[in-house]
Symmetry: C2
Subunit: 158 residues, 2 copies
């Protein structure tokens, strides 16, 4: 490991290193993501955004508001509308009107949705295990902890 000399008067230490880290992080996730996209398409004829919505609804079996969904998935409101529309017309989820507040509608998996998602989730977990197999057990723990910290820090500030 080559290491650069550490000047005690260097301002903005590690800017370049953080930039490089970011670029590598982006590339790695991009690689894995597009492999997942491929496999979801080939094996289940579906897409990553659809999978993400189903996964969120599987976690919250009682259903979610559209706004919960978009907040949880970190995507815009309008985005979710389209994906949900398509999943509804495929019979995987339903929109239920809600008593008391007619603005909101609760979105929930159907039986078919649950069944299909369970198959996909199992495959997905195996794919991830395979694709991330190169990362050692210790690194997995270390990294995972780091990223959890990163996220909670972010959420504190925002």
């Amino acid at each position: 490991m080559a290491s650069e000399p550490r000047s005690t008067v260097m301002p903005e230490t590690g800017n370049k290193e953080r930039l490089r880290l970011w670029i590598r992080l982006l590339r790695a996730t991009h690689i894995v993501e597009s492999e997942l996209r491929d496999r979801l398409k080939r094996e289940f004829d579906t897409t990553l955004p659809r999978f993400d919505v189903l996964a969120a609804l599987y976690r919250e079996r009682g259903g979610m508001l559209m706004s919960d969904l978009s907040r949880y998935l970190l995507v815009s409101n309008g985005n979710v509308t389209g994906i949900v529309d398509r999943l509804v017309s495929d019979g995987l989820i339903v929109r239920a009107r809600r008593e008391g507040d007619r603005r909101t509608s609760i979105v929930r998996l159907t039986e078919a949705g649950v069944t299909l998602f369970e198959r996909m989730a199992q495959a997905h977990e195996n794919w991830i295990a395979e694709l991330l197999a190169g990362i050692g057990e210790d690194d997995v723990q270390h990294l995972s902890g780091m990223l959890r910290a990163f996220r909670s820090e972010w959420e504190l500030e925002h």
Copy 2:
């Protein structure tokens, strides 16, 4: 740090941990990416894909083929066409016909493109430094090395 008992007969060790790591990785990059998107929009009225294309062309000042560009950026061929079209009509890059092979065209930054990109790159570097400030110097090195390894492994296999 709670650690789970390590059975010597447990198959597929760490599947769930790797899945969790993947989800956290995705969330972290998503958070940073959308912050970058926002700032690029606000400060430079541009988008991340445009920035990525400019960055690639800045690295390869002599210009790149469309296919080089899409391979380097890990996106489809047709995708690059659209982004390049728009950058050309904004005067930031040019398509130069090439002697000897009329199939290919070399894409290169214009003066205006270089100037603008240098401003954006400086801001971008600072944003990254700020957004990743929570990651300690040692972790940056460690992670960066891991990701480099991940990528070269991937490229060996593909």
